[in-house]
C-alpha cells in the first residue's frame, strides 16, 4: 500500500522502485525489480546460496517495516569494534575455551522464512557451531568457535542476507514475560486436561439422572470428579484468588471477586455433596469455568507480551561507545557510560557524541535536531559546547567531557520525562468501571436471593444461590473488553501500528486534538533537491552531475540531497569546508558548491539567492553555473492525513523546536493554523497542558529527544519508528514504517473496537438479566448453567474476533 499507483515495488523489500532504477535479480528464473543496490546485493546473495525458497514462503511484511537497506552498509563500518574483547565482554559467554556464545537481537525478521534464511545461512558458515533464531522474540542464539570466525563476521553474515543484528543483553522485563507465559500455560493446560476429564464424568452423571443409575456409581463418579478437580482448584485458579484478595484489600471490587466466590462455594459445596449425598456436584462447572477464564486471559496475555517484546526491541539502544584518548593520545574504545568528567574523547565524523563536553580540537558541524528540532547542523569551533546524543557530521573532533553521564543533558531530559509521565492524565478503563458496578449488584442480589429462599425453603437456599453465582458467572462480562482489545491490538499491528500501553486504544477513542512535531513526523527529515535553475552551465543534467560529484565527499544533510543523483564529471582534489561547502578542480579551474557566500567568493559580483528557501550555488571562478533549491519535503501522505483528520472534526497543531520559519511554511502548505515554532521542550509541555486545561484530549505525534517529555504528557502519544529511542519509550504507540497513513486506519479500528465492546457488554449484561431471575427462581439445573456460561463466553470471544478480520487485509507480520 506504500507503492505509488504507477511503478513497481521492490521484490525484496516492498518499497517503491525509483523510476530511473534498472536493477534486477533473477529469482527462480524470473527477473525481479530491485529498488537499490543494497536490496540487489541481498537478493543476489540469497539466490547464490540457493535459498530462493525464502521468497516462496515468506509472509507478506507490513509495508516499510523491513530494514531500510541503506542503513546496513553504514552500520557495517563500525562492525570491527565488536571484535574488541572489552566491548564484547558483557554479552559473550564462554562455555569452554573453544566456544563463545552470544544472544543477538535481529532486526527485520518478519516471518518464518526470515528465521529459516538466517539460520541456514549462518549454519553454513565456517566456525559457527550452532544458531537458533526465535521468531517471537527476534533473538538469535549463536555459538561459534573463536579460532575460525569472529563476532563481526557473524554480524556481517547476517547483514549479507539483509538483517541487522546487534549484541543483546536480556532486559529484566523479558524474564518476567517468559515466567508469566510459562506459568499461565501450565495453569491453563492443567485446567484444560482436568476439565475434559471432569466433563466426561459429569456427562455420565447427567445421563444417569435421566436414565437411572446405580447410586454406588454416582458416589464413585462424584469422588473421581472431585479428585480430578482438586489440582485445578488449588493450582490453576490461584491467580483468581490472588487478584480478588488484592482488590478486597484495597476496598475495591473486580471480576475476580465473584469468580473466586463462585469457585470456592461451588468447590466446597460439591465436596459436601460427595460426603453427605447432597443434590448436586459442581466439579464440572468449576473446572470448565477455570479453563475458559484462563484461556481468555492467556490469549490476552500473549498479545500483550507480543507488544511488550516489540517495544523492548524498538527501544533497545545499541551500546554507545566512545573513543577515549589515553595519556599518549591513543584512542581506546570504552562504553560511553564509563566516561568521567575531564576525559578526552575522539569523535569521528558521522558518530554520535558520547557525552556533554567542550571542543578541544577540530571544527565541524553538529546535528542537534534531536534536541532542538533545528533541522540544519550547527557549526562548532574549539571552545564550543556540545551535547551528548547529538551527531557529529563533518570532521573529527576532540572533546573534553564536562559532565559525568548521570548529570548529562540526556539524563535531565529523562527526569523531565519521568515527571511528565507521572502527571499524565489517567484514562479509566470502561470495563473496570462497569465490572465493579456489576459485581456489586451481583453480590447484593445473591444475598437477597439467599435471604428470600431462607425464609421459604431453607434447604434449597444454598443451592439456588450457587446456581445464581454460576449462571451469572461474569465470564462473558470479564471477557467482553479484553478480547476486543486483544483483537484490536493484533489488527493494529497488522496495519503497522504498535500499541505499547494498556490504555492506548481506550485513549485514542476520545482524541479531539492532534499535535504534530514537524521534524521527522510531517516531513521526511532529510533534504531533497526540488529545483534547479540553470545560470551558465551547459544543461541541467550536467550541472546536477557536477554538483553530485562534488557533494559525494560531504555528509552534510544538504550535501546528501545530491547523493542520489548520478555523479559524473571529471572533478579532482575535492575538499570539504565545514559549514561552507565543497570545492574541487574541474577542467583545470577551481569549482565550488555550497553557501552563496562561499561558492560565489571567487566571482566578481556575488549573485543573490533568487527566491525564498534554501539555495545552494554551484560556481567556478569565472561564472556562476546554477542554483539548486533543497527542501525538507513533506511526507507523501501528510496532506491527506491532515485533511481527513480535520474532516472528522479533529483540530491539528504543529509544535516545533525549529526557529527558521520552516514550521510555519509547512503549516501553511497543510492548512494548519495553530503553529508554534521555536519551542523548547518545556514550552511544548506548557502548550500541551494549556490545551488539556481547555478540555482537549491530545494525541501527540513526535520522534525527537526533545519530544519525549511532551509525548509522555499527552493523553495518547505516538512515536515514529525511526525516532529516537527515548521517544519510543515515552510513547503509548509506535507507528512502524515510514508512512503516516496507518493513523487513519488506526482511528477507524479503534471506533470499530468500541462498537464491538459495547455489543459484547450489552450481550453479557442482557444474558445475565434473563438468566438471573430464572436461576433465582430455582429453575436452572447445574448442567444448563454450565452450558449457558460457556455459550455466552464463546459468543463474546467470537464477536471480538471480527475486529481482526477487518485488519486482515495487510496480513500479519508475525
Amino acid at each position: 500500500m506504500n507503492a505509488p499507483p504507477t511503478g513497481l515495488a521492490c521484490f525484496h523489500c516492498g518499497l517503491p522502485v525509483p523510476a530511473d532504477c534498472k536493477l534486477q535479480v533473477t529469482i527462480a528464473g524470473t527477473p525481479r525489480a530491485m529498488c537499490c543496490p543494497g536490496c540487489q546485493a541481498v537478493a543476489q546473495t540469497i539466490v547464490d546460496i540457493g535459498m530462493d525458497s525464502y521468497y516462496e514462503h515468506r509472509g507478506p511484511s507490513t509495508p516499510g517495516t523491513s530494514q531500510a537497506p541503506d542503513l546496513v552498509p553504514e552500520f557495517l563500518t563500525e562492525l570491527q569494534d565488536w571484535d574488541d574483547p572489552e566491548l564484547q565482554q558483557p554479552f559473550v559467554h564462554s562455555p569452554d575455551s573453544t566456544h563463545r556464545e552470544i544472544t543477538l537481537m535481529v532486526n527485520g525478521i518478519t516471518c518464518a522464512a526470515c528465521v529459516w534464511l538466517v539460520e541456514q545461512h549462518l549454519n553454513g558458515q565456517d566456525g559457527i557451531e550452532q544458531c537458533q533464531v526465535n521468531l517471537s522474540s527476534h533473538r538469535a542464539r549463536v555459538v561459534w568457535n573463536p579460532g575460525s570466525t569472529s563476532l563481526s563476521r557473524i554480524i556481517r553474515a547476517i547483514a549479507q542476507v539483509g538483517y541487522k543484528a546487534e549484541p543483546y543483553n536480556p532486559v529484566q522485563q523479558e524474564d518476567v514475560i517468559k515466567r508469566e507465559n510459562r506459568q499461565a500455560l501450565l495453569r491453563m493446560g492443567l485446567a484444560g486436561l482436568g476439565a475434559m476429564q471432569v466433563m466426561m464424568y459429569a456427562a455420565g452423571l447427567y445421563w444417569g439422572a435421566w436414565e437411572g443409575i446405580d447410586p454406588d456409581h454416582v458416589v464413585f463418579l462424584r469422588w473421581v470428579s472431585g479428585v480430578v478437580c482438586t489440582p485445578v482448584f488449588f493450582y490453576s485458579c490461584v491467580p483468581f484468588y490472588q487478584n480478588a484478595w488484592r482488590a478486597l484489600k484495597h476496598r475495591h471490587l473486580n471480576m475476580d471477586v465473584p469468580v473466586s466466590l463462585a469457585l470456592v462455594i461451588a468447590y466446597v459445596a460439591s465436596w459436601w455433596s460427595v460426603f453427605f449425598q447432597g443434590p448436586e456436584v459442581y466439579f464440572d462447572s468449576v473446572s470448565m469455568f477455570a479453563f475458559f477464564l484462563l484461556l481468555g486471559r492467556y490469549l490476552e496475555m500473549r498479545v500483550r507480551h507480543r507488544s511488550q517484546r516489540t517495544s523492548i526491541r524498538l527501544s533497545h539502544s545499541s551500546i554507545q561507545t566512545a573513543r577515549r584518548l589515553d595519556a599518549g593520545g591513543n584512542p581506546q574504545l570504552v562504553p560511553a557510560e564509563k566516561l568521567r568528567k575531564g576525559d578526552r574523547v575522539l569523535v569521528r565524523a558521522g558518530e554520535q557524541i558520547p557525552g556533554d563536553g567542550s571542543i578541544l580540537e577540530g571544527s565541524s558541524s553538529v546535528n542537534e535536531s534531536m534536541l532542538t528540532g533545528e533541522h540544519l547542523p550547527t557549526p562548532k569551533m574549539p571552545g564550543d559546547d556540545v551535547t551528548g546524543g547529538t551527531l557529529n557530521i563533518e570532521q573529527p573532533l576532540v572533546l573534553e567531557i564536562q559532565r559525568d553521564p548521570q548529570e548529562s543533558t540526556l539524563s535531565t531530559l529523562r527526569r523531565l520525562l519521568d515527571r511528565a509521565e507521572s502527571e499524565k492524565p489517567s484514562t479509566t478503563l470502561v470495563a473496570d468501571r462497569i465490572s465493579s458496578q456489576f459485581v456489586a449488584a451481583l453480590l447484593i442480589i445473591s444475598v437477597a436471593v439467599f435471604a428470600f429462599w431462607w425464609f421459604h425453603q431453607p434447604e434449597r437456599a444454598f443451592w439456588i444461590v450457587l446456581a445464581v453465582l454460576v449462571v451469572t458467572c461474569p465470564c462473558a462480562l470479564s471477557l467482553a473488553t479484553p478480547t476486543a482489545i486483544t483483537a484490536a491490538t493484533a489488527a493494529l499491528a497488522n496495519q503497522g501500528f504498535l500499541s505499547t500501553r494498556a490504555h492506548t486504544i481506550e485513549g485514542l477513542r476520545y482524541i479531539t486534538d492532534v499535535v504534530f512535531d514537524k521534524t521527522g513526523t510531517l516531513t521526511e527529515g532529510r533534504f531533497s533537491l526540488v529545483e534547479t535553475r540553470l545560470l551558465d552551465g551547459d544543461s541541467t543534467a550536467q550541472v546536477e552531475a557536477l554538483a553530485a560529484a562534488l557533494e559525494q565527499a560531504s555528509e552534510h544533510p544538504i550535501a546528501r540531497a545530491f547523493h542520489p543523483l548520478g555523479a559524473s564529471g571529471d572533478v579532482a582534489g575535492i575538499r570539504v569546508i565545514p559549514n561552507e561547502g565543497v570545492h574541487g578542480i574541474w577542467n583545470g579551474a577551481e569549482i565550488r558548491i555550497g553557501k552563496p557566500g562561499f561558492a560565489g567568493a571567487l566571482l566578481a559580483s556575488r549573485p543573490a539567492a533568487p527566491d525564498a528557501g534554501q539555495w545552494v550555488l554551484l560556481a567556478t571562478a569565472a561564472k556562476a553555473l546554477a542554483w539548486f533549491r533543497v527542501e525538507d519535503r513533506l511526507r507523501e501522505d501528510a496532506a491527506t492525513l491532515v485533511q481527513q483528520l480535520q474532516q472528522t472534526g479533529k483540530r491539528c497543531h504543529i509544535l516545533s523546536g525549529d526557529g527558521s520559519g520552516h514550521a510555519r511554511e509547512i503549516g501553511r502548505q497543510l492548512g494548519i493554523a495553530d503553529v508554534r515554532d521555536n519551542a523548547s521542550p518545556q514550552d511544548k509541555l506548557d502548550y500541551l497542558k494549556q490545551l488539556q486545561a481547555s478540555g482537549a484530549q491530545v494525541l501527540m505525534l513526535g520522534d525527537g529527544l526533545n519530544d519525549a517529555p511532551v509525548l509522555a504528557g499527552a493523553n495518547v502519544s505516538i512515536a515514529m519508528s525511526d525516532g529516537t529511542d527515548l521517544a519510543k519509550v515515552a510513547a503509548d504507540g509506535v507507528l512502524l514504517g515510514q508512512s503516516l497513513s496507518p493513523l487513519l486506519q488506526v482511528l477507524t479500528i479503534v471506533s470499530q473496537t468500541y462498537r464491538i465492546i459495547k455489543q459484547n457488554l450489552a450481550w453479557a449484561i442482557g444474558y445475565n438479566l434473563i438468566a438471573l431471575p430464572v436461576a433465582a427462581a430455582g429453575l436452572i439445573p447445574p448442567w444448563l448453567s454450565a452450558l449457558g456460561m460457556s455459550a455466552s463466553s464463546l459468543i463474546v470471544v467470537m464477536n471480538a474476533l471480527r475486529i481482526n478480520r477487518h485488519g486482515q487485509r495487510a496480513t500479519t507480520d508475525r
Binding site: 532504477c21 529498488c35 537499490c36 543496490p37 543494497g38 540487489q40 546485493a41 546473495t45 547464490d48 546460496i49 540457493g50 535459498m51 525458497s53 514462503h57 537497506p69 541503506d70 546496513v72 552498509p73 553504514e74 557495517l76 516471518c111 518464518a112 522464512a113 528465521v115 529459516w116 541456514q120 553454513g124 558458515q125 565456517d126 526465535n134 521468531l135 517471537s136 522474540s137 570466525t149 563476521r153 556481517r156 553474515a157 547483514a159 549479507q160 517468559k178 507465559n181 510459562r182 500455560l185 501450565l186 493446560g189 492443567l190 486436561l193 476429564q197 464424568y201 446405580d214 456409581h217 464413585f220 463418579l221 473421581v224 479428585v227 480430578v228 542520489p564 508475525r814
Partner: protein, 64 residues
C-alpha cells in the same frame, strides 16, 4: 457396568501421564516459539545447495 472401577482409575493414570508430559514440555521450552514451528514444515532443509560463492566479509556496494 462395574468395569468403570477399573477403567476410570486407568484413565486417571493416563491423565497423570499427560499432565506430566505437558509440564515437561512447557518447562523444556517446547512452547517458546509457537509462531515458527507452524511454518517449519514448509522449508526443505536437505536440498543440495552450492557452497557460498563469496567469503563472509565480501564488501557490500554503497547505498543507492
Amino acid at each position: 457396568m462395574d468395569v468403570i472401577y477399573f477403567l476410570i482409575p486407568l484413565a486417571l493414570v493416563l491423565l497423570v501421564a499427560a499432565v506430566w508430559a505437558f509440564f515437561w514440555a512447557v518447562k523444556h521450552d517446547q512452547f517458546e516459539d509457537l509462531d515458527r514451528e507452524a511454518n517449519r514444515i514448509l522449508f526443505d532443509e536437505d536440498i543440495e545447495r552450492p557452497k557460498k560463492p563469496s567469503p563472509p566479509d565480501a564488501p557490500k556496494p554503497p547505498p543507492g
